[in-house]
């Protein structure tokens, strides 16, 4: 347990020593602000564009489709293929931590970072809707926001497990990054051609949080999809570990 704790602390510090992680967090905090100013500028012209109480949820749509997956691919490429290619993985593996501990520390750190990014977005976009928003545009209460952001976290973390598994087959961070973007874009496009694909693709669940805001979705469906995401997370996480454990560095 000490090894796991030290592993998570190490991975978190390494993540924040990397400039690109900080850049992602800074950009994530600024995008809602920039869009607010853009909406305010466009409001007199278009009329319909305005910031309301649903602004944090609108932002979530943009973030779970583009920014968080991209952040995830960059971080996974640093946590796995980059560590193999730069031969720094041994720096962790030679410490008093098991392979399972080292793998778990990386995945938990990724979860903390995704959670942190969502929290930052939630705070900034909520503040924006309070400070610059028009009342009664959309009606998402604080409970609704918490549900949406928690659901978004689960879908993003499951997606992360899939790409952590894929990362085990790469020794080049750039190669993984390009491949991941292609796979993600491809998986997003497939449901337009093959109906039914989205039900079985974790990639299609990036907007899953919206189900939690709907009043017409049954609890049974929410439970089924939650179990699907959780089982996907466990499956890809376990398969990824099998390959991580076999890695000879």
């Amino acid at each position: 347990m000490d090894g796991l704790r030290a592993g998570i602390k190490n991975e978190l510090l390494l993540m924040f020593y990397r400039k690109k992680t900080l850049m992602f967090f800074i950009i994530s905090a600024f995008i809602p602000l920039l869009l607010v100013f853009l909406f305010q500028a466009l409001h007199p012209i278009l009329g319909l564009v305005a910031v309301g109480s649903s602004y944090p949820v609108q932002m979530l749509g943009i973030y779970t489709t583009f920014l968080i997956p991209l952040f995830m691919f960059v971080e996974i490429s640093e946590l796995f293929p980059q560590e193999v290619s730069s031969r720094t993985l041994k720096l962790t593996l030679l410490k008093p931590i098991t392979r399972l501990g080292a793998y778990a520390a990386k995945f938990l750190t990724l979860g903390i970072a995704i959670g942190g990014l969502l929290l930052l977005l939630g705070i900034v976009s909520t503040l924006c809707s309070f400070l610059f928003g028009t009342l009664n545009i959309g009606s998402v209460g604080i409970i609704g926001l918490i549900k949406a952001y928690t659901a978004a976290f689960l879908s993003m973390w499951s997606l992360a497990a899939l790409f952590v598994f894929i990362a085990q087959f790469f020794r080049s961070a750039d190669g993984f990054l390009v491949f991941s973007i292609f796979v993600f874009s491809g998986a997003k496009a497939v449901p337009y051609f093959i109906s039914g694909f989205s039900s079985f693709s974790i990639v299609s669940y990036t907007d899953w949080y919206s189900l939690w805001l709907s009043h017409t979705i049954s609890a049974g469906r929410l439970a089924t999809t939650s179990l699907f995401l959780l089982s996907g997370l466990m499956l890809f996480l376990s398969m990824g570990y099998i390959f991580f454990d076999r890695k000879e560095v």
Binding site: D2, N10, E248
Partner: protein, 251 residues
């Protein structure tokens, strides 16, 4: 005597046919053991197997009397390593890197970081980015990281790579100080045979994945003027044995 490292019939086969074969070896507390061998002899592979970086195909490894696989974390708490090359997260400074390293071990005083940097002669570069370091400086940093927790066993692979003359002298003094005054056991692989002759009480010669000779330096040198002469003779003999074996088997 207390057994620190014990290998029994350790074999590691790679797909290309290289690796190590049937290595049995025991290091006692306080030993300074030198591992010699030509390039590709399997020295790094052996060290990687001992430290769990790669799994052996056959054989068993125990550190401090415990099976490595069963008690990896507790065994590695007492081991300091520098394997293959000194690779780092180059966006860190030595202080940042050593803090990360220290977090894996209990009860390391904050002043210890400055102490080990001073020991290896990197104190004045403590806050510079590692990406600006030379190979020798990285080597020194790897050494400092491997001793920060005052380990009972230090495993160093080619520690003098990239070191200048002053660095080599410093390295020699460090090994002597740690082994004599602190009873630390060393397993060092190196091509610097003269260094090993001065430092080690025991050596092993590895050739084509096989430990062809090993023992106390004083005993091995009874018929040779120097370790270098002994090493060359043993390598020749090893090659002849291997050739004869191939001829007899018709290979």
């Amino acid at each position: 005597m207390e057994s620190v490292v014990k290998l029994t019939g350790v074999t590691k086969e790679f797909r290309n046919g290289s690796g190590i074969s049937g290595i049995s070896l025991e290091l006692q507390k306080g030993d300074v053991y030198g591992l010699l061998g030509p390039n590709g002899a399997g020295k790094t592979t052996l060290l990687k197997v001992i430290t769990g970086l790669i799994s052996p195909s056959f054989g068993s490894i125990s550190l401090f009397g415990h099976d490595l696989e069963l008690s990896y974390s507790s065994s590695m708490r007492k081991v300091g390593c520098m394997i293959e090359s000194a690779d780092f997260y180059d966006y860190l400074t030595p202080v940042q890197y050593l803090k990360l390293t220290a977090s894996f071990y209990p009860n390391i005083r904050p002043e210890r970081i400055a102490e080990v940097l001073e020991t290896v002669g990197l104190a004045s570069f403590a806050k510079e980015k590692i990406r600006h370091f030379s190979t020798g400086m990285k080597q020194k940093l790897a050494m400092s990281a491997s001793i920060i927790h005052s380990p009972a066993l230090v495993i160093w692979d080619e520690p003098t790579n990239g070191l200048d003359i002053e660095g080599v002298v410093h390295f020699r003094a460090l090994v002597k100080e740690l082994s004599v005054n602190h009873g630390i056991t060393f397993l060092i692989s190196s091509h610097m045979i003269h260094e090993l002759e001065q430092l080690c009480n025991r050596v092993g010669i590895l050739n084509q994945g096989v430990l062809i000779r090993e023992g106390e330096v004083q005993e091995l040198l009874t018929d040779s003027l120097s370790l270098e002469e002994f090493y060359i003779t043993e390598l020749k003999r090893g090659k002849e044995v291997l050739e004869n074996g191939r001829l007899k088997s018709g290979y």
